[in-house]
């Protein structure tokens, strides 16, 4: 595929703040989320989970549960086959433990019953005979030879000898002569960091409604970031043909990466298959925390050398990620992203993937990057402090730009980092005075972004309106953006277009809503589908006018003769062409299918002011400003929303959010009471500055914006706190006890 070259243009609709099409449904309580659907004869499912961090399952006796009146089916791992490929098997084993429970909260059995109370009662009748095994939850402990091994036989060929079998993968990136680089430095700072695991914390627990009929057909309704992928996984796990399993994505109550895989869907399908009735399965919050999504926890060592005038001479990072009880798919991204913001002659990053007895990590907004960049940006800040240099000047001096050989290999094309840093430097926030016990921190952030498989249909209705059918769950207003791009391309009002997210039977495969891909890739496909429809409408007009198709062009929502030689015909609008579509050849529709590339990387810079109470260690965020390159902000409200939401998730990560494990390996805080996501009163307004450095790979210049925003807050907060208290913090979260301890107050 050749890249779709960006062309500068004046936008008429893109860039305006239109009302989202799902707005009224969502403010009136009508929108249907995962747990909101019902079906005739529906049963309620419920899952029994391991209370042990690590245990061999000797036997499961379900007879008493099955004997309970109202129980219609019980499912254990024995009901499933064993998939051949590692990936599907891991997903399945995470949904239902096979032989061994690998973490506190790991599913071991499930029931379907006529009501929730009966399902609850049935779980208590299931007898699981566990043999408790030693466990490990800390990343550094899990790497040591002799650590309890979470799973055998998972070590990749790239792992050097001498580690525990929990170390499954090793990555190395970078270039240049480190020794020579460090030799040129006037100061080298080496520091180690730790970060706790956090959860995506979406407010809607996972929920689904599965219906399998005796002829082998199945329907699944679920909240997911990617229902096509749910179909792939579930069909693989249940041995079904994709055509027989139709998956419909409900409205989704947040995902942030955590709803990019399956947890309960295969179980609900199996329960429905065995019970012969529809089964609804809804997770409790406790289950969400114990058995889904968390991101990695990490430990890292950073070494950076700098000259006294602020030039980085060499940089090295070793990043150790634990991704729970299965091989982790996050390490490589953090390891690549660590130094992405810098133009370096000598750089090396090493990544280690480690298994522990914790839930299988799921993607979380720019997976791997926040903790890597947190550690790097902390050390850069420390060096600036050492030399008394302005941290923005130093970042500008070392900033990656067009032509920079990136720390992960490729040479950057047009990127927006310098413009973003300059915007931060010019902003009043950067010069605003600070009071006592206050500090200002800043950090760069980066994410790769990608495009991916996308399939869009655009139907021109006979009344002159347009329906768009796309396949990516709308997680933050994407239907509005997609309609806007179609409106721009077709030259008709936004309100004449309705975009819907179709089920898996309606379109070709669409990748998951992740990688900040939807506005970029679905937008691109929508523009191309619109152009396809335009070409067909021009052909109809050409027929009507009796001229060549090439002699017709599209202008302001109408077909017009391409020039004086084409003949004199009044413009024929989309509505006029649509009205006679039956007479001119039938329905008019545009299509586009692509595996989109050229997403264009995204950079951001965050500025943050905090005040620390030196007697309690409490941190208050006083002011926060986000600068980010959006390429082109199609719907600025929702671009700002991504920047603000990402920033606040990062603030939570920096200050209070953490998975806390006890000595017994059990999660101590699986509630929103003790897993402390930021509440409204914790925060100031989050100011946003959108930069628009067009992405050459998109016709409108769009870059993904969803993920980068969570990357800088960790270091921005840590740097701000470190300045406020005059001590370098190196562990997240910077909870009050940790800060007070650093201050020597307790």
């Amino acid at each position: 595929m050749s890249l779709d070259e960006y062309r500068k243009r004046e936008f008429k609709q893109v860039g305006t703040r239109v009302r989202r099409p799902d707005g009224v449904d969502k403010v009136t309580g009508r929108a249907m989320y995962g747990a909101d659907a019902t079906a005739p004869g529906m049963l309620w499912g419920r899952i029994l989970r391991s209370p042990h961090a690590h245990a061999r399952i000797r036997s499961i006796d379900v007879s008493a549960a099955l004997a309970l009146k109202g129980v219609k089916a019980v499912v254990t791992a024995e009901d499933f086959g064993v998939p051949e490929d590692d990936f599907t098997r891991d997903v399945q084993d995470n949904c239902m433990a096979r032989g061994r429970a690998l973490y506190d909260g790991h599913a071991v059995a499930a029931v379907a019953a006529v009501d929730q109370a009966t399902a609850r009662a049935a779980l208590k009748l299931i007898k699981v005979d566990y043999e408790i095994l030693p466990h490990v939850t800390d990343v550094d402990a899990a790497m040591q030879p002799g650590a309890p091994v979470v799973q055998e036989g998972r070590v990749q060929e790239n792992v050097p000898k001498g580690f525990s079998d929990n170390v499954t993968a090793h990555f190395e990136f970078g270039h240049g002569d480190l020794d020579a680089g460090f030799a040129k430095a006037d100061k080298i700072v080496e520091r180690s960091f730790k970060t706790a695991a956090t959860h995506q914390g979406y407010i809607e627990p996972h929920a689904c409604l599965a219906s399998v009929t005796s002829d082998g057909k199945a329907d699944l309704w679920c909240c997911t970031q990617g229902h096509f992928y749910v179909r792939t996984l579930c069909a693989g796990i249940l041995g079904m043909e994709a055509s027989q399993l139709r998956v419909t994505a409900s409205e989704i109550g947040g995902g942030f990466g955590g709803k990019t895989t399956v947890f309960i869907e295969p179980v609900a399908l199996m329960l429905s298959k065995k019970a012969g009735r529809p089964v609804k399965l809804v997770m409790s919050r406790d289950e969400v925390f114990r058995a889904t999504g968390p991101t990695v926890s990490s430990s890292s060592d950073i070494k950076i050398g700098m000259t006294k005038d602020g030039r980085i001479t060499a940089a090295e990072a070793t990043l150790r990620y634990q991704g729970g009880a299965f091989p982790c798919g996050t390490t490589e991204f953090g390891t690549q992203a660590a130094f992405a913001a810098y133009d370096l002659d000598a750089v090396r990053t090493y990544g280690w993937s480690v298994m522990t007895n914790r839930p299988k990590e799921a993607a979380y907004r720019a997976p791997g990057a926040p903790v890597a960049i947190y550690a790097v940006e902390s050390v850069v800040d420390e060096l600036c402090q050492h030399f008394g240099l302005d941290p923005l000047d130093v970042r500008l001096k070392n900033a990656a730009r067009k032509g920079t050989k990136s720390s992960y290999g490729p040479t950057f094309p047009d990127i927006g980092l310098v413009a973003t840093l300059e915007a931060a430097r010019a902003h009043p926030h950067y010069k605003a005075p600070l009071g006592p016990n206050q500090g200002r921190g800043l950090s760069c952030g980066f994410w790769f972004n990608f495009g991916g498989n996308t399939c869009v249909s655009l139907n021109v209705n006979t009344d002159g309106t347009v329906g768009i059918t796309e396949g990516n769950p709308d997680i933050g207003g994407s239907r509005a953006s997609i309609s806007l791009m179609a409106a721009e391309e077709l030259g008709i009002p936004y309100d004449n277009i309705r975009t819907i997210v179709a089920d898996t039977s309606s379109l070709g495969y669409n990748d998951v809503t992740d990688g900040s891909r939807v506005t970029f890739a679905v937008g691109l496909a929508t523009i191309k589908a619109a152009r396809d429809a335009v070409r067909k409408m021009c052909a109809r007009a050409a027929k009507i006018w009796g001229i060549d198709e090439e002699a017709v062009q599209w202008k302001d929502g109408a077909a017009v003769p391409a020039g004086p030689n084409a003949g004199k015909f009044p413009p024929m609008t989309l509505a006029e062409i649509a009205a006679v579509s039956a007479e001119t050849g039938g329905p008019i529709a545009g299509h586009y299918e692509v595996n989109a590339d050229g997403a264009g990387v995204s950079f951001g810079v965050h500025l943050c002011d905090v005040e620390v109470d030196r007697e309690t260690g409490a941190t208050k965020v006083l002011r926060y400003t986000v600068f980010q390159d959006a390429g082109k902000a199609v719907h600025p409200d929702y671009v700002e929303g991504q920047m603000q939401g990402g920033a606040v998730q990062g603030i939570g990560w920096a200050l209070n959010e953490e998975y806390i494990y006890g000595e017994d390996g059990r999660l101590q805080n699986p509630t929103f009471l003790d897993y402390r996501v930021p509440v409204a009163s914790d925060l100031p307004m989050i100011e946003t500055v959108i930069l628009e450095i067009p992405n050459p790979g998109h016709p409108y210049g769009v870059r993904g914006v969803g993920e980068t925003g969570i990357v800088p807050p960790l270091a921005a907060l840590s740097n701000a706190v470190s300045h406020a208290i005059g001590l370098r913090m190196s562990e997240l979260p910077m909870s009050p006890p940790r800060i007070l301890k650093a201050l020597g107050g307790s």
Binding site: F171, F173, Q336, R348, A363, Y408, T411, G451
Partner: protein, 81 residues
């Protein structure tokens, strides 16, 4: 011939070379040649490799054309949240 930059931990499959040269006009040919000439790369190719071509990342497109002067960098298969 196309020059291909590998990430560090793949060097063990190429006898320590961080950059190798293979005959390929597109991504598919590149992966196929790499698997033949450096069999140690096969497990990683099976797990997934993305391609950066002149600074633009391609996740999996086999028929992406590679010119003789293109900058070609291998990357682990990209995903996101």
């Amino acid at each position: 011939m196309v020059k291909v930059l590998l990430w560090g931990s793949l060097r063990q499959a190429t006898g320590g070379l961080a950059e190798v040269e293979v005959e390929a006009a597109n991504f598919k040919q590149l992966l196929d040649r790499l698997a033949v000439e450096y069999p140690g790369l096969k497990p990683q190719i099976a797990r997934g490799i993305s391609l950066s071509l002149d600074g633009v990342i391609y996740r999996e497109a086999w028929f992406t054309e590679i010119g003789p002067d293109s900058e070609v960098v291998l990357m682990p298969y990209m995903t996101g949240g």
